[in-house]
Subunit: 421 residues, 2 copies
């Protein structure tokens, strides 16, 4: 593929290339139902970013006016995020995205404990087997270092089994990590109850057990008020809540200490060296604030559509299986179904040609083939894990749109049946 | 400071905040002479980015049209960078910035060797004491891991002493790291000669010694044609050559292998997990291509201005000392002087009030006080290291602008003399 581009590109002057881009940019009037993978940028975020892309190019670390204004913009954005999650600004650290935030939290806390003299071999971490790759892959790295990684059981809806968590926590446990809402099946974890189990273990073993929560999918649909999550580390990704790509936030508790995973100029309290992405941070500030400002109304509205949509899908496609929880335990905009026997990757392409953008699983879990690790874990059913379809609604998705999608899907399923019978 | 912002912010609605931003954005008509710290975004880069901020919000890892178009844009940008540095696209890795690129190259190559079974204790790395913090601080991390970090001598202009390099290289050496052009004093290293010394050592010890070059300051003024640099790892930062902040590039040689420093979805050949910053990458592609397209003409033009400017400064301020090299060994747009006895941080503020944006040293080395480590190293003169002034020209800087700056500076120096005599 790259080679094609080289060939193509050599014919391009920058100008031609740019108009090429604009052509690429046409034909976007499809029904976008992949909100869990990426979200459009909030117009207000773009408006806030534009001056810092076009005029205000100062380095926030410079002491002249241009630098000072860039610094003010970064601190203003930090204050917006701080207000959105209700912490003091010094507990808000901007990162290069959600993945970096999860890496910084997990590797950073372990490294910090290591610096305090605790051997990797005397550290245990507890997580689940249904987390986003930015957690599961980082856990593998921790295991390489000698940290013991324990996996707590999840039920058939993907919720952490509290009794099992209680069992797993020990005097050696230093960290518990899970998603606020699962990026594939939308299962919302019972953070308060998990936090309670952790607190009991801390008392029982007279130790500190940090709680890391990957809240990438949360800001548009759930409260991210920091104290109410009980987290020591709350990781957000602007790109998942109508902010720009390439900007994340790590909110840390007062008691938590971190070591950096990147080294340099010491920006972001020496936790994220490198010149700040000023425009991106400005856009992120606006996006997180807007997402949290009215998450409840947004969620209540979309939950209505989602519930009716699920009933409609069940009605039209009786062979489908719903993956994940129902009611409050399911992220407002998430629908995840399996249609055993159906090649849902192909179905995704077919739906796309009809103007419906959906996905099979998490984009980061590989857009391509392969079963859903998440659904495999909760169902122990390979056929179900191999036939997932994730429909993640936007705040404006209508039941009618889902009904037309369902019709296309139904037709496709019947065609496939005919072909294979 | 943060607290002020919280107080201020709570008074702000998003709208007020945004217009607040636009007010911040006024008064940018000063003479900007801090190009080494940050550069304005190329209008063509903004034009290329805008659709990917406003319309094309797809996740490049999604398989639907919106995702495919985002993927195409990323690969097109990769092809632009590949063409600019003349490598195949698969050797171009997008990162979250120059600092991350340097960290990935240094930590990544050591970790990769470690995985191949080589103990840290059997690895030696050679660098200088005048590198950017993203290298010096990462070297400290490598030393913590047990890698031996050796510092090669630099001469009074900041150039690596080749004889000393030859001395330091051994059978245990796995990596040599230096900047193409120093970010403070603009000294350009003799990459080819350094490469030759490395090649001889590789033959002599029958080993592989990787060569890492931090080229953040180079694209606008020097050829970054990959083979001609002799590097195994060439690190670029879009924000230093009229691209957006928060995007870097790591160009790797065919023989070089790296381990990631962040873990997750496996993007960028598993070397930089996390959803790609599509708009930023698109802007970076345009910026790197434009920077390299006519670097020579740009450099030749600016060198004329810079040389006359240095002569004028020497003439008007005889007590000044020039830091760094002259002629081809100095980055085209760099002027770095010391005025022993002068508080140049205050002078920077005074110049700023007169509309001249300059700096004392590298923004990442801390905009605030403290001597320049770089100048301390080359001069062993604390007074000189404590009184540096970095004037980094733009492609459009005129001699007249430098003359007016010089007049303001001269006046300020005389005032200071009167006050202190």
């Amino acid at each position: 593929m790259s080679n094609i581009f080289v060939k193509r590109f050599t014919l391009f002057s920058p100008h031609v290339m740019i108009s090429g881009m604009n052509e690429i940019a046409k034909d976007t009037n499809s029904v976008y139902l992949d909100y869990a993978a990426a979200t459009p940028l909030l117009p207000a975020a773009f408006v806030a970013m534009e001056p810092f892309l076009r005029l205000e190019y100062g380095n926030p670390n410079s002491i002249h006016k241009l630098g000072v204004r860039a610094r003010q913009a970064v601190e203003l954005a930090r204050a917006q995020v701080a207000q959105a999650v209700q912490v003091r600004p010094e507990y808000v650290i901007f990162t290069g995205g959600g993945t970096e935030g999860n890496n910084l939290a997990l590797l950073g806390v372990i490294e910090s404990l290591r610096k305090e003299g605790r051997e990797y071999a005397y550290m245990e971490v507890v997580t689940t087997k249904i987390e986003h790759p930015s957690i599961t892959k980082t856990m593998e790295k921790l295991a390489e270092l000698g940290v013991t990684v324990k996996y707590v059981a999840v039920d058939t809806e993907g919720r952490i089994v509290l009794a099992d968590l209680k069992e797993l926590l020990s005097a050696k446990t230093v960290l518990v990590s899970c998603a606020y809402a699962n990026s594939e099946i939308g299962t919302v974890q019972a953070l308060r109850q998990i936090g309670k189990v952790i607190a009991e273990a801390e008392k029982k073993y007279n130790t500190i057990i940090y709680f890391h929560v990957d809240a990438a999918q949360a800001p548009l649909w759930l409260s991210c008020q920091f104290d109410s999550t009980g987290a020591d580390f709350l990781v957000l990704d602007a790109a998942k809540c109508c902010g720009p790509k390439g900007v994340g936030v790590l909110v840390k508790s007062k008691r938590a200490t971190l070591s950096p995973i990147m080294f340099g100029g010491g920006q972001e309290q020496d936790l994220r060296s490198g010149t700040e992405n000023v425009a991106g941070i400005v856009g992120a500030g606006v996006a997180f604030q807007a997402a949290q400002a009215d998450w409840r109304e947004r969620a209540e509205r979309v939950i209505q559509v989602r519930n009716q949509a699920i009933l409609h899908l069940m009605d039209v496609i009786p062979e489908m299986v719903l993956n994940g929880a129902l009611g409050d335990n399911r992220l407002a905009n998430n629908i995840n179904i399996s249609i055993p026997g159906l090649d849902t990757e192909y179905a995704t392409v077919v739906l796309d040609t009809h103007g419906f953008a959906v996905s099979t699983k998490s984009a980061c879990a590989g857009a391509g083939g392969g079963e859903s690790v998440v659904v495999r874990e909760i169902s122990a059913d390979p056929a179900r894990a191999a036939s997932t379809l994730r429909i993640s609604l936007s705040p404006d998705t209508t039941l009618e749109q889902i009904k037309s999608l369902t019709a296309v899907l139904k037709k496709h399923i019947e065609q496939m049946k005919r072909l294979t019978s």
